[in-house]
């Protein structure tokens, strides 16, 4: 069946009244859950599994998919408004989104995020439709050495994420890598730094770190800086209007990063988080005004937002065409497929075309619904900021606690959230940047595993990283991206000196 015939089958599923209804339910539920600080697509899908029991698989999976990308779409809200990223894919969104909201441009920031998300989502669905079968070979081209190189490339971003002291950024990153080693080591099964405490066996969930370092630390800062608390009313929401100039400014990052996000989303294990970080750095590196990043740059917001949504559709490539779940969320999705009696795998496209193409076709619809539903909601969402500060602060604390508790219903996690909140606050006071910590935490674990898997495979020979073209080229890119900015600076300084 060609992609064209496939899409006709797909739209027959997606445009039936059942299809439309369930896409709509899916994206509404997804976007609402995603907006809660602390609740992301994994919890959203896990909640839906028991509900879909006994349903017809096509509409049920269309709905599940809607919940997934809906949650990623909505996830930016809490990052922008409260600096409380609910999922790892929207951490980078907070870098420029939160400053924008602080400057009284909350409405605009949300609108830009929605447009960028829609754009990223739509571009990647088109690519998914045209390339899904062909891209399945890309998805499996990465072995452990290539993953190591990819993670290394991601880590070079630390130098770009640091404002001020590079040494402090490095200390922060090293601390992140140290924290990720806590728990059972997958390669040996030994416990590392658990002190015999069973609650530490799985290490820390990403959410505990993110909500502690970002949301709770921010809350402490708000309490501390009481002078700044009175923004005037129109400043709080700001104009919603995204001007033509804004659109022009974001069009470049949106287009580029939709592709970057999609490709990284296709790789199992990489996904939306790494995509959003790499896209952010990418735009900062090529920007003429890199100093604007981190201070409310439109580009800095549009890049990760289009990228993380594009990566979400990209993640469906290995899931639908190979039956390989590339992330925690798609692993839960895979479970949902099995429960509904659908076996995702290389034969899904020929065995159950109505499901394969139905999900893809429904994503067009879902992205349109998301945009149409979200834009009118923005004024109301942005009003959250006009809630009196004491109340807002209590709400953020409450939702952070609920979000963390809902990971595994373990009270121990709540204490850890407070510990990381205190750490985040201390880091802010002594001006250690938090983004390198979280980036190192996310990438460091995968990098270590990929490194050690490679070492076992090669019997300890480091040449495995340079013997094949893929890891070699990624390592070269990582190296160059570190060296070139330094060289350029050095050259311009020499020029200045000569003059």
């Amino acid at each position: 069946m060609s992609a064209f015939d496939g899409m006709i089958t797909g739209f027959q599923v997606a445009l039936s009244w059942e299809g439309i209804l369930f896409v709509l339910i899916g994206v509404i539920v997804g976007t609402l859950i995603g907006m809660m600080p602390g609740l992301g697509p994994i919890s959203a899908i896990a909640i839906m599994i028991p509900i879909t029991y006994g349903m017809d698989p096509a509409p049920a999976l269309v709905m599940m998919a809607g919940v997934y990308y809906g949650a990623v779409f909505g996830g930016s809200t809490s990052s922008i408004l409260l600096n409380a990223p609910g999922i790892s894919g929207t951490v980078a969104t907070a870098f420029d989104g939160y400053p924008m909201a602080q400057q009284g441009k909350a409405g605009k920031a949300l609108a830009i995020a929605a447009i960028a998300s829609f754009f990223g989502g739509t571009v990647s669905v088109i690519m998914l439709m045209l390339l899904a079968p062909a891209l399945s070979s890309v998805a499996i081209s990465f072995g452990p050495p290539a993953y190591f190189a990819l993670m290394l490339m991601g880590l070079t971003a630390i130098s770009s994420l640091s404002e001020g002291s590079t040494i402090k950024a490095m200390i922060s990153a090293v601390a992140g890598v140290m924290v990720v080693t806590i728990g059972i080591d997958p390669q040996t099964g030994t416990q590392r730094f658990t002190f015999g405490n069973i609650n530490l066996l799985d290490g820390f969930d990403f959410l505990i770190i993110a909500l502690g370092l970002f949301a709770l630390a921010e809350v402490c800062m708000l309490v501390l800086n009481r002078k700044n608390r009175s923004l005037s009313d129109d400043q709080k929401l700001g104009s919603l209007k995204v001007t033509r100039a804004d659109l022009k400014e974001m069009s470049g990052p949106m287009t580029r990063q939709s592709f970057v996000g999609f490709i990284l989303g296709v790789l199992p294990g990489a996904g939306a988080t790494i995509a959003s970080f790499i896209s952010y750095i990418f735009e900062k590196r090529i920007s003429k005004n890199p100093e604007e990043f981190g201070k409310g740059s439109i580009k800095g917001l549009a890049a990760p937002e289009s990228s993380n949504n594009a990566a979400t559709s990209g993640a469906f490539v290995p899931l639908l065409s190979l039956g390989i779940p590339g992330s925690g969320t798609t692993a839960v999705m895979l479970g949902a497929f099995l429960v509904l009696g659908v076996q995702p795998g290389p034969l899904l496209m020929s065995d159950r075309p109505e499901i394969f193409w139905g999900i893809i076709a429904s994503m067009y619809l879902g992205n349109i619904f998301l945009l149409v539903l979200n834009l009118p909601l923005i004024p109301y969402l942005a009003k959250i900021l006009s809630i009196p500060r004491p109340l807002l602060i209590s709400l953020v604390i409450m939702f952070s606690l609920i979000g963390v508790y809902s990971i595994s219903f373990n009270v121990f996690d709540l204490y850890m959230l407070l510990v990381f909140g205190a750490l985040g606050f201390a880091m802010r006071v002594f001006s250690f940047p938090a983004p390198p910590f979280i980036l190192a935490f996310i990438l460091g674990g995968m990098m270590e595993q990929a490194f050690r898997q490679s070492m076992t495979i090669s019997n300890g020979n480091l040449a495995i990283f340079v013997n094949s073209p893929l890891p070699l080229s990624l390592i070269l890119i990582a190296f160059l991206s570190l060296v070139i900015p330094g060289l350029l600076k050095w050259r311009s300084r020499r020029k200045l000196a000569k003059m």
Binding site: F142, G143, D185, Q187, G189, G269, V332, Y380, I402, T456
Partner: protein, 336 residues
Amino acid sequence: MKKTIFTSILAASALLFAGCNSEGSTSGGTSEDGTFEPSQNIEMVAPAGAGGGWDTTAREVARVFGETDIIEENMTVVNKEGGGGAIAWAYIHGKDDSPYNLFVASPPLMFVPLNGQSEHGHEDFTPLANMIADYGAFAVSADSEWEDLNDLFDQMKADPESVTVVGTSAPGSMDHMQFVRIAKAAGVDPTKIKYVSDQDGGALTSVLNGSVDVFSTGVGEVVEQVRAGNIKVLGITAEERMEGEVLSDFPTAIEQGIDESFINWRGFFGPPNMDQAAVDYYEAKFKELSESEEFAEVREKYGWNEMYLNSAEYEEFLNTEYEEIEVLLEEIGLGN
């Protein structure tokens, strides 16, 4: 505003959920003539997150119990994730003699404590009944030169460093040990087997792109890939050929002259001091479930084999398995 309303509903339900979870154990229900009949909601714990093997088994069993009215009281599945099961086991262990807290288990209930990652093992709980059997499969890329297990093991005997095995679980756990067990029986030096663990979904990928050589996993995980012609199965750990399309094509290790097997059993347990009357009750109910037509459909849907054992048979089976695994783990230097 809508958001505020929705979030408060969510918060309320989260609290409600938490409330349900923390209900204490009450060991009522045993009448004077020594028989047990549940008089309240039964909690069925899946010691992992939604969507995995334990979760699916628990949910299907709870659903069929409810639909067939074999057990009339409501059975609720609760996911308690963490520590490869250790968190849930500690929780059930604390339920002492409650007849209303069950959990689903499989070989990790032995592997995890043997690897020193849980204080509680199978001997700390009351076995109720085993329900199903699943088996391990050893798969290689479709263009591999190995045609059967003996080709693979010959190569491993000649040059152990040239072969890498990948699985999803940690070393010393199921994917690793099922391979070690069969390889050792074939004469491979078990201390020289190179095993890497990939828990981020990359195991199959690594076999397909040739980074590693052998994928040690469950039979159910490979069927679709075999049908698509991406991989081939050199052998499975069942004692006899399995039934079903594709499945019946997989040769067992035994028929290739390697006298060893491995069962991925799945059954149900209760807290440490569950009353004998309650054990008798559940044992009988699980037997009824296992023999029901509805559960036969479930087995077929997931490709599981029937393997009912009552409480006493189960305990004996588990103890024999445990000893074998313990010896093997010590031999490869992973024992405690």
